[in-house]
């Protein structure tokens, strides 16, 4: 990451009008109102340049990869493989072979649970996750624990939505084989102190997986500095196409892991008696992948780098502060998740008004927010509520859009009286 170069560009690149022009969806109307898209934690909109590279791939140079000896297949393969280098650089991985493309964070976690979990987890072992995990980082471990007669243990959080490190310390033991932890919470916004968490886990010899689905678009990461064993994220929350994602795994670990899915592309040699598997990362990419999606992912990362992650983060921090401040103006708004370190996610309840009603009413004003449990049901059980309304900002959002949200919420209050 070249933060210095990014900072130099902050001024020139952060004409918000120019940024907004990069995203065609932002000029759409919904229910005759300008779209006010505040559901970026669910998925981000796509810049034109990402759309263009996909169209370009389909109109000039389409073919399958790793197949033909003909020119376009070689070019397609190069474009696809080049994204591995882009990602490796973006997340500071040592080797490009440590980057495995998946359909998303969910598939990446499942890959680890099946492939690594299958041989690494034994009866009586313990897997630690936090209270604020997304279902994608709960259920695969639940299933694995059930199968292996292992224990899933939960790291508690405080009322602000922060991990209680002292309690985490107490849960760690030589039985701990895996700590799987979200970097930034999609429901609370909390940014977890993963450096400490990784270090503490390493002290007892545990393997660490970091779910970076809500961090990768806001926070610069470096795998070599973090020293986690696995890191996963989805492309679609990083301005890239849906159906793309990344599993980063340390080389030695990936090399020791058996395939997750089997078939074409992941083999070295097949006879009817026996098959030998390809080396990493191909071993984990059975079948024809989402080629155009991965090419789009590469372009999305380039776009983010061009804007500068530091500048993006700075702008989102402003939006978070402004949004928090404005929402608190509304009597009966309660914000869930008040950690000191947060990404631009605000989960809130509004008196006893159900989030679904709020969501429907806001929708008619062109405002897109998430209403529900955001795939973190156990988290809300911790707070004894069922669901929240969630506004989540990307750097292309504006203060005016937050004002629109606040006005919309005031209308909701007056309807429900």
């Amino acid at each position: 990451m070249n933060i210095l170069a990014d900072e130099k560009n902050v001024e020139s690149l952060f004409s918000i009008d120019d940024i907004r022009k990069d995203f065609p969806e932002l000029s759409r109307y919904v229910h005759n109102r300008p779209l006010c898209y505040l559901d970026n934690a669910a998925s981000t909109l796509k810049p034109q340049t990402v759309i263009d590279v996909i169209a370009d791939f389909y109109t000039s140079g389409y073919s399958n990869i790793h197949r033909g000896v003909y020119l376009t297949s070689q070019q397609a393969t190069e474009r696809y493989e080049n994204v591995r280098s882009i990602i490796a650089e973006y997340i500071g991985a040592q080797h490009t072979s440590e980057i495995v493309f998946t359909r998303g964070a969910t598939e990446a976690i499942n890959l680890v649970a099946h492939s690594w979990g299958e041989y690494a987890i034994k009866e009586g072992d313990e897997i630690l996750i936090t209270t604020m995990e997304h279902h994608a980082n709960i259920v695969p471990w639940q299933v694995l624990c059930e199968k292996k007669n292992a224990q899933l243990r939960i790291i508690p959080i405080n009322d602000s939505g922060e991990i209680i490190l002292e309690e985490f310390e107490k849960l760690l033991s030589e039985k701990t084989k895996l700590v799987s932890c979200v970097y930034a919470s999609n429901s609370l916004g909390t940014i977890n102190p993963i450096q400490s968490i990784i270090q503490m886990a390493k002290n007892v010899g545990a393997t660490v997986l970091i779910d970076g689905a809500q961090a990768i678009q806001h926070i610069p990461v470096n795998m070599q500095e973090l020293n986690c064993d696995f890191f996963v994220f989805s492309g679609h929350k990083l301005y890239a196409p849906s159906g793309t994602g990344v599993l980063y795994g340390k080389k030695a670990l990936l090399q020791a892991m058996p395939p997750y899915q089997t078939g074409g592309d992941m083999i070295r040699r097949v006879t009817f008696e026996k098959t030998t598997y390809a080396d990493i990362p191909a071993r984990f990419e059975a079948g024809t992948p989402n080629i155009e999606g991965i090419i789009g992912l590469g372009e999305a990362v380039r776009y983010v780098q061009k804007c500068g992650l530091a500048a993006i983060a700075e702008r989102e921090a402003l939006l978070l502060e402004y949004g928090t401040h404005r929402l608190m103006e509304i009597p009966d708004v309660r914000i869930w998740g008040t950690a000191k370190e947060k990404v631009a996610v605000i989960s809130f309840t509004l008196g006893a008004i159900h989030p679904h009603d709020i969501g429907s009413l806001l929708d008619r004003e062109g405002i897109a927010v998430r209403a529900g449990h955001h795939c973190t049901q156990p988290l809300w059980q911790r707070f004894a509520i069922n669901s929240t309304t969630r506004a989540s900002f990307a750097f292309y959002n504006t203060e005016q859009e937050i004002d629109t949200l606040v006005d919309g919420l005031k209308n909701v209050v007056s309807l429900f009286g």
Partner: protein
């Protein structure tokens, strides 16, 4: 009336604020839980059916204004009806909330006609029909349904 006013009519807001027949029955012959996994809302319906007639019906649970008011209004409609009548009303109700072309027969639908606005909000159809699916399940002798 715009679509929002059509959806959130006074009757609906009123039943949401003070739901009728909320709570448990001292004695029930049929009972089922309904779950909407999309939002995590859940409802429990208890019925006391005697001589083929729904003598009493109550519900508990947490939900949005649409699902709460639908459950509340449903209980007031179903009390005193036979299981067959309940089924027929459910079918008619379902037609109204899901089908753009369904004719609204105010006479047979009675109070349920206020839910006609739901058809403009496809995302909310499950909210409106959760209680009904749950009653249907209870009368069929099932204990649990989910609106997937």
């Amino acid at each position: 009336m715009n679509e929002i006013q059509q959806l959130y009519q006074q009757v609906i807001l009123d039943h949401n604020k003070s739901p009728r027949n909320y709570g448990h029955l001292p004695e029930c012959s049929h009972k089922a839980d309904g779950l909407n996994p999309l939002c995590g809302d859940h409802i429990t319906v208890e019925l006391y059916v005697h001589d083929g007639i729904i003598q009493d019906i109550r519900f508990t649970g947490a939900g949005c204004a649409i699902s709460t008011s639908s459950a509340s209004i449903m209980t007031t409609v179903l009390k005193g009806k036979t299981a067959e009548e309940a089924e027929r009303i459910f079918q008619e109700f379902h037609g109204v909330v899901t089908n753009d072309d369904a004719v609204i027969n105010e006479e047979s639908l009675g109070k349920l006609a206020v839910f006609a606005g739901v058809r403009e909000f496809p995302a909310r159809v499950k909210c409106a029909s959760l209680a009904w699916h749950t009653v249907h399940a209870a009368l069929q002798g099932e204990q649990e349904i989910s609106t997937e």
